[in-house]
């Protein structure tokens, strides 16, 4: 295992202070470079498609006549399932990716993409964004969504053997999935502002500022109090800011990410942090506005210009360079991506060229470790199988997907995180 600059400095600080003077220059320059891949490193990037993604128009059942009957305006015909370059997005004799998802098609063909059909919440389904999200963040079994997130429980449980900046929410605020009683996750909207500034006129006073800040916030506060949570997080933020914000300055890559794309920017940030912060293992991106009650396609019926299409395209066009970036750094085997959304949409389109809150949707799991293909079960769209709001059935519980990732990727016993055994969906091994 190679030594990183940070470990190097840390180890020096605890007792090898003078040894650095004797180290050969070659060693030093390597220590300042990027970490060599650690074959045991397992990174999970979770992408939340916020608002309720329309699974039926993401993985399109192009042979299902009911799909066309329920969606006279929103549906894509088989002949329309090709990307902007004219390449087919059909992935099986029944399904095709939305035509704006061409960026993912190559990875699918290479066997790197598992698609879980009919995935949703079989235990506590809700038409509420907020209830559904909370349940999916926490993997709650009984509707109680206070307390730790599902990945927060993983962080807490493995705290004894793993420390440092392990979990980062990128591009916005923190995610409830990372809420943990003991571990602290970072929220990094951008690198530029992610620092602890001091008065520029008196740089010599900076240490006094930081020391007094740490001392005041390092006091003990009442257990569970707001002050205690704030103080703990504040010390963590100030103490790890430079480790995180220095990531871009150490990053080298030939991969070009799309410009003007919010999610591509965030995938690039993740790549930079993965390379700079060796202990970083969990990332979360909250992306988009998938709550398409209206304008899922525009009034002129140009379906590829609709909000849904544009966002799917942005997502897939960002995943591809990220994968290439990881591959360029020898890390493609070390990263798995997973998407989720709080629910799917009604099978029937509404009168606003949109769809209302639904039930099951599709989940994607992507990476070299993944055995690509179709998993789960496509729900029937026959009238008798839909509820009053035209919601199809949910066949795979999202907790099964979490369990498969916990057991098969993060290497912990999923029962200890989720509270009971869930079926292995089978996309690992």
């Amino acid at each position: 295992m190679s030594i990183t600059r940070r470990q190097f400095i840390k180890r020096n600080a605890v007792g090898m202070a003078s040894a650095s003077l004797l180290l050969p220059e070659l060693f030093l320059s390597r220590a300042y470079g990027q970490a060599a891949p650690n074959p045991d490193r397992k990174i999970l990037v979770v992408i939340q498609l916020d608002g309720g993604n329309d699974g039926l128009n993401t993985v399109i059942p192009y042979t299902d006549s009911r799909y066309y009957a329920l969606r006279p305006n929103l549906s894509f015909k088989e002949s329309e399932l090709k990307d902007a370059q004219g390449q087919s997005t059909i992935i099986s004799d029944r399904f095709g990716l939305h035509p704006s998802m061409g960026g993912l098609k190559g990875l699918y063909d290479a066997g790197r993409v598992a698609i879980v059909l009919g995935a949703g919440d079989t235990m506590l389904p809700s038409g509420s964004h907020f209830s559904s999200r909370d349940v999916m963040h926490t993997a709650s079994l009984d509707g109680n969504t206070k307390g730790e997130g599902w990945l927060g429980r993983y962080l807490s449980q493995t705290l004894a053997e793993k420390t440092g900046v392990r979990a980062l929410a990128i591009g916005g605020g923190l995610t409830k999935s990372f809420d943990a009683s003991r571990a602290i996750a970072a929220a990094v909207p951008n690198f530029e502002a992610y620092n602890f500034k001091t008065d520029p006129l008196y740089p010599g006073n900076a240490n006094n500022q930081l020391n007094a800040f740490r001392a005041c916030n390092g006091e003990s506060f009442a257990e569970g109090s707001f002050a205690g949570s704030i103080a703990r997080m504040g010390v963590e933020a100030a103490g790890t800011a430079s480790k995180i914000n220095s990531a871009p300055s150490r990053y080298r890559s030939t991969v070009v990410y799309p410009t003007g794309s919010n999610i591509a920017d965030r995938f690039k940030m993740i790549a930079q942090i993965i390379l700079a912060v060796e202990e970083a293992e969990l990332f979360h991106i909250q992306f988009g506005f998938f709550d398409h009650h209206g304008r899922q396609i525009p009034a002129d019926r140009n379906k590829l210009a609709g909000d849904h299409a544009v966002q799917l395209k942005e997502l897939c066009d960002a995943v591809k360079p990220f994968y290439n970036d990881m591959a360029e750094h020898g890390l493609a085997d070390n990263v798995t991506l997973m998407t989720w959304s709080e629910f799917g949409r009604t099978a029937r389109e509404n009168g606003s060229l949109g769809t209302d809150h639904g039930s099951s949707s599709v989940m994607f799991v992507i990476g070299n470790a993944v055995r690509g293909g179709l998993y789960g079960q496509q729900p029937s769209l026959e009238s008798a199988d839909l509820d009053a709001a035209t919601n199809p059935k949910t066949h795979v519980d999202f907790r099964s997907v979490y369990a498969t990732i916990l057991d098969g990727w993060l290497g912990v016993d999923s029962v200890s995180i989720l509270g009971r055994r869930f079926e292995d969906v089978g996309f690992f091994g």
């Binding site: 996750a185 006094n208 007094a212 707001f226 009168g351 209302d356």
Partner: protein
Amino acid sequence: MTNLSYDEAAHMFRRMGFGGHKDDINDLVARGREGAVDYLINYEAIDNSALDSTFRPIDYANFFQLQKMWVSRMIRTRRPFQEKLVLFWHNHFATARTKVDLSVLMYIQNETLRQHALDRFDTLLLKVSQDPAMLVWLDGLTNAAGRPNLNFARELQELFSMGINDVVTGEANYTEKDVQEIARAFTGWGYKLKKKNKDYAVFKLKGADHDNGVKEVYGQSANFSGQDIITIICARRATARFLVKKLFDFFVYPLTSSPQDKATIEKFADVYMASDHSFKATARAIFASDEFFSDRARFALIKNPLELILGTIHMLDMPFDTPAAAGNNNYYVRSQAMGLEIFNPPDVGGWELDLGWINTATLLERYNFANDLLSRRALSSAEFGVPVVTIELLRRFTDASPQKTVENFLFALGPLKVSPETLGILTDYLQTNDAGERVEFVVDDATIDKTVRGLVRLIMCLPHYQLN
């Protein structure tokens, strides 16, 4: 008259406004508890005309101008509770410009909230529902007979009035079927934009798009209109309870599901029911209550970004801007970086309060705002949204005794109560040179410009200072 202490009056300004300065706090103390609550709540009696006239030239169609205008109003108003209440309603009826798109509609909604902020809840809910921003935001405009759109019907019940489950009994307040039927009652709603002295909108029912059939709602069947549904919802006790809970969570302390807290909800839900759904009566009862003035309530919430930013300005009595530069501040940018972009809540659920404001990035923003504020010595366009802290201002609080200096600032910025250890750390900071050696605290401009500035910044980085 019930006595009002200085600390209690400061608490009132933090909760019912955006922080107060010593002179304002003393003025409130002299009014006693009821008098102070009435003074702040009966804000329509306070002449604010000078403020309104300063905003005339602002182009409401310009979104950044609109954001600046509202923040400027929050700072400059003589009716702090009015703007705080509009912020409460903006969070309650969370509507975002990202989808509404037209800034002028956000402006019209803001005016609607201000106009009806203390009204009967029935009136407020109806006016907001008929307002163009909401009709765009939750797809009311395309909700038509035979092709209902469920977006508004769901959030009307889940977020704007009752919640999914009764906050006291836990019973379900409505079914999915109610969502579908209620959507039909609101079909055909639209608006017309007008311009006279200012932009405004008129509600319009598009008859051909309205579903005149019988709808079955909460077990009753009739040809309900949208207004009928709002009347029915506002008469339900579940709505009274939900509103009380939202008021407590925003203004008093976070409620738990304990029997004691449920009894508290019931007590104020009774006021809502007995006062014909008067929001003002309900709010007055809460703000004058022992609960509001209890130890439990004191510093029990986490400051939202605007409370933090504007509170600092008010508490230190800083010159924030001049009438000539009305609206010309960038505080909204700082607030946005801390997680609160006005007119752009994250979604229809609004902002998550308390710990929802806190993560590593927003905390760094809070610390850096404090640093930018205190290291600002002259006006410059390089730094967004921070006024100048002058030597004169700092001198007012600085004492020959370093501990007294710390205490003076803790008093002005709260009053904040800290542990003897914290007091010691801050006092030591004033007496430490760059080499880390202990030196004597000498009150001169050089010390004030360096160490006292640093002290105020450090106080603003205390966890206590993040609390409201």
